[in-house]
Structures are given as structure tokens and as C-alpha cells.
Amino acid sequence: MSTKHSIAAAKFVANKKQAAWHNETLWMVRAKRDKMSKDIPEWEQLRDLACNIKLYSNSHLEELLQEFEKNATANGAIVHWAKDAKEHNEIVLGILRDHDVKHFVKSKSMLAEECELNPFLIEKGIEVVETDLGERILQLMDVPPSHIVLPAIHIKREQVGELFEEKLGTEKGNSDPTYLTRAARKHLRDKFLNAEASMTGANFAVASTGDIVVCTNEGNADMGTSCPKIHIAIMGMEKIVPDQESLGVFTRLLARSATGQPVTSYTSHYRKPREGGEFHIIIVDNGRSKILGQPDHIKTLNCIRCGACMNTCPVYRRSGGYSYTYFIPGPIGINLGMLYSATEYFDNLSACSLCLSCSHVCPVKVDLGEQIYRWRQEMDKIGKASKEKKVMSAGMKFLMERPILFNSALWMSPVVNVLPRFIKYNFLNEWGKGRELPEFAKESFNEMWKKNKVK
């Protein structure tokens, strides 16, 4: 009955110390978010508005994207359209080759991960440097991110210390976060100064002005776009918002939900290319337009990639990002994976107790848990339902549809109590991993009622 997730999660949680640290650290981020949200009396009103703005925007994409393109182009930006990941990568390569770029700096973009841009460019001989500290650490370690906002949350400071000692020449045995961050500053400052082009993602794209808005804390996106003169901004098309007034809603929700800050250190609005430079914007589809045709799942397009759902998810906190098979983990990852390819990513559906905390914490009211429940109903149709679960369900159904049989089962069930341990726990092996079985009552409620014992 195991899934790829349950197997990987079992390994993660077996390392009790690491799992407890991961769990508590992410809970603290959730707690910081709670504190921030309680300081805003109109918080729930903002969530409603954000959800409705997104539903409006994503159901008017044709008009809004064209309005955006018109305004961005009038501002001097060059707008490209990429129907899929392959085309996106080729457009980026084309721009870099046109300008003979050998040194390329990037700030964090989940879209770039989705398109697998880095390996593509590196293979073509371009140096790609991740400039977000967490992403740079992972790049140097050659491992993927495990959280969309806190990508290196699973890495301990000692590991970073050892890594930097090897790659950046820092002091042996020094794992002080401030010391290591300063070393990274120096190392990446060099990269910013010598790069020929930079890339950012887009948190929001404003249709009425042609602005690309990027929210960061480290200053890496801004250093990247302030040194080299070519800026490539890439956006999933669902990032579009109608006007600047909408930004008032989203900028109040984003950082509070993501990291428990009132706002990110930098909320940059890119409108025109720099003097003597170029500003390219790539609008990417890669399956998003198809999601529009699935009303049960359309709210996933609301997502502003804050990561709050991961921080609250009791399963993610105890299993880590690597136990999910899709590159984005946690509740939103489960849903995005199913939308991208249900037959490839269904293993992640087991990673959920349907507690619905995610749906309640989501700043844009994506019905994350409810959608997972609906996806589970789809599994049999796509031939991916777990055989054991199917047999158990059918068995339960058989039993429950026949009250006489159910009552007999109730009558017989106390027998289970006295079975030898090894039989009990082999049969219900999975329950027995850490729990004792409940004891069946000597007389069921049904029997007591029939014998007039309920008074």
C-alpha cells in the first residue's frame, strides 16, 4: 500500500532529530505568519479580495495579457510568448546568444525550475549563477530546493560551512550564519559585477501599466538587474493582475504569509529598460491554459507561491520537500503535480490527512485540501488507484451494505482482542507501526440497544 511519498517520508522521519528540527522550524514560520495576520483586522477581507481578483484575472487572461503586452511594449520592453518549457528555454538562449552572454545571474524563479532552464543553458556553455543565498548553496551542492521560499531549509549550518570552506575558501569549522552570509556576499558581488545579463521571475505583472513586480529580501534581484544591462523577466501567465490597486491587496498578503514579515525588503517595479539596456519579458503557458478548462481545479491558478501551505502542512513538515516526486512539494505541489501530469505524480496524493489547514492559511483561498480529496476520486479512473485500498474499500462497502453481516461482525469482533500479538500485528501491520490496536467492545451499541440495555 506504499507510495513513493510514503517510502521517502518514512526514511525522513526515521531520523528523529532532523525531522523534529525541520518540523519545529517550519512551525515557527507558520507562527510568525499567524502573528502578522492577527495584526491586520481586515485580514480575512483581504483574502477574499485576493481570491476574487485572481478569479477575475484568470478568467480574463486573453484581454489582460494583451493589455499588458501593449503597455509593456510602449514602455520599451520586448515581450515574448512561450507556449511551453522548451520554447521558453530557446527564447532565453536566443537573447543570451544575441548579446554574446557568457555570465548569467539569476534570482529565484520556480518557473525557471519548472522549465529546467539551468541545465539547458549550462550545457550550451553559459555560466548560470543562482544569486539567492539558499539557491546558491544548493547549486554548489548540486541538489534541488526542498521548499519554494526557504529552499535550503533542510540544510544545517555545518553543511554550509563545509561547503563554503571547499568552494569559497572560508575558515575551517566556522559555521556562523552571519560569517557565511558575508562570504557569500563577497563571492556573489563579484558575479553581479561581471555578469552580462540577469534573470528574474515575476511575482506580479500589472496589465494596466506593463510593470513587472519582484518581491525579495536579499537584494539579489536588484543587484542582478542593476549591474548587467540585459534583464530577462519570466512569468507564468497567471501572474497577471489588472491594475496597481490590486497590488495593494497582494503586497499586504504575500510576505506576511510567506515569512511573517510585514513586507519584503524590496518590492521592485520594473517598467522600462535601463538606459542603454534591454528589458525582455517572457510570458509562459506550459499547461496553464489547460487548467482553465478544469473548474474543479481552477483556483490553483490563484497561487502566489508564498509557501504558507507548506509551513502549516503537518505532513510536509515531517517528510521534507524531497519526499515529494514533483519539484514543488507540499499541498500546492501535490495539486500542481496532478495538473501537470496525474499519471506521473499521483504518488503525492497519499501525503495528506485532509486536515484542511492549508486551505485556511492560503492567502488567496486555494481550496488545496478539498482538491486533493477530489483528485483521490479520480485515481481509479486513471488506473492508478492503490489495489490494496480498492480491496479494502470494496470489502468495507460489502460489509456496511449488509447490516446483518455488520452486526455479526460486531458480535465477533471482540475475538480480535484475544488473538496472539504476532497475528494481530501482521494482519494490521501498518497500524501496528507505533500504535496498539483499539479493543473491540464485548457488546456493540447495536446489541446493547436490542437487549434494552441503553437507558
Partner: protein
């Protein structure tokens, strides 16, 4: 059909319910003392503030608070303590090694200690590249929240604009907060 047309066609084909644009009226939080809240939040995010008192000299205060700053850049006409004018530099990369940059903000936001600037210097790197940044702000130009902030900004005016709230920071190593990542390690807003 080119990609743009393919994408727009796919959108058209798949879009089902057309949702209405919501009315954007929020009972947003306001503060009885915007300046006090602004300063409180600025400190909360790791920044510092200074309220210039009657008779105090801005340039003297800056020098007094930053004795170790050797290379000071500013384009502001009323700043005399700077050692160079960033607008005279050819390339933004030449700004590297600036100890202190002094710039001017347009307005501040009380709920999060942010200051809005739209670029009125030759190199926007000036806002990010120095070790420390000072933003001079008229203390009467404070709004309560981001809704009010966005209503202030006029369309078509800027090529680049940014809300800056505190110094650069990161918590990417074990969630341990480190002030000063790739941008300035310190930020001070001087309210005058």
C-alpha cells in the same frame, strides 16, 4: 499560427466561467500616529530612523552617525557631505565600494516601514550597492497602508520604482536571521 496566437486560442478555448472584477474597497487599517507606527515598523524590520529636529543640520548628523564612511555618494543638491556624485559615473559597476549612499524617498508606508522611491538617479544600483543606505524623507509624506500607497503613484511616471523596507536580509541558513545579504547591510530613514 505563432505562439502568441496559439496561447490566446488555448485560453479562449478553455476559459469557462467569467468572474466579475471585485470592488476594491477595503476597511484598511489606519494609525492615529503614522510617524510613530512607521518608525516602529522600520525598527522591526531591522532599519533605523532619525527624526531631524529643528535647527539640526542634516549633513552634520549624517557625518556624525557615519564616521567610518569614506566613500559617500549622493546626487541630492542639499547633501554636501558626499565625496562623489554617482550621476557622473559612466557605469553602475563603478559604484561598487560605496560605503554610504544618500537618496531621497517620495513617501513612506506606516504599516510596514517601507519607503517608495522612483528612480531619479542615473544608476539604480545606487539604491542597492552600498554598504549602508540613507533615505531622506519628508515626514509629512506618510501614508497608512499599501492601498493608500498605490493610490499615490501616478501612471507612466517611472522607469523603475521600488519600495524599500529596512536593510537587505536573509534567513536561508537554518532560519537564522542575518541582516545584510547582497544589498545594504544597514538602512536609515531620516525624517525631516
Amino acid at each position: 499560427m505563432n505562439s502568441k496566437e496559439l496561447i490566446l486560442e488555448s485560453i479562449r478555448k478553455h476559459t469557462q466561467t467569467k468572474y466579475e472584477k471585485p470592488e476594491l474597497s477595503v476597511d484598511a487599517i489606519t494609525y492615529p500616529d503614522k510617524q510613530a507606527k512607521f518608525c516602529e515598523m522600520l525598527q522591526f524590520v531591522g532599519g533605523e530612523f532619525l527624526i531631524l529636529k529643528e535647527g539640526e543640520n542634516l549633513n552634520e548628523m549624517i557625518m556624525r552617525l557615519n564616521p567610518e564612511a569614506k566613500r559617500i555618494g549622493s546626487t541630492l543638491s542639499y547633501i554636501t557631505c558626499n565625496t562623489f556624485n554617482p550621476d557622473e559615473l559612466e557605469n553602475s559597476t563603478e559604484l561598487n565600494g560605496t560605503d554610504l549612499a544618500i537618496v531621497e524617498g517620495l513617501f513612506g508606508v506606516a504599516e510596514n516601514g517601507a519607503v517608495w522611491m522612483d528612480q531619479n538617479v542615473k544608476h539604480k544600483a545606487l539604491y542597492f550597492i552600498s554598504e549602508k543606505l540613507i533615505i531622506v524623507l519628508d515626514k509629512n509624506k506618510l501614508v497608512n497602508n499599501m492601498h493608500e500607497a498605490y493610490r499615490q503613484m501616478e501612471i507612466g511616471q517611472y522607469g523603475f520604482g521600488v519600495f524599500i523596507s529596512g536593510p537587505s536580509k536573509t534567513a536561508d541558513i537554518e532560519q537564522a536571521l542575518v541582516i545584510g545579504a547582497h544589498g545594504p547591510k544597514g538602512l536609515m530613514v531620516i525624517l525631516k
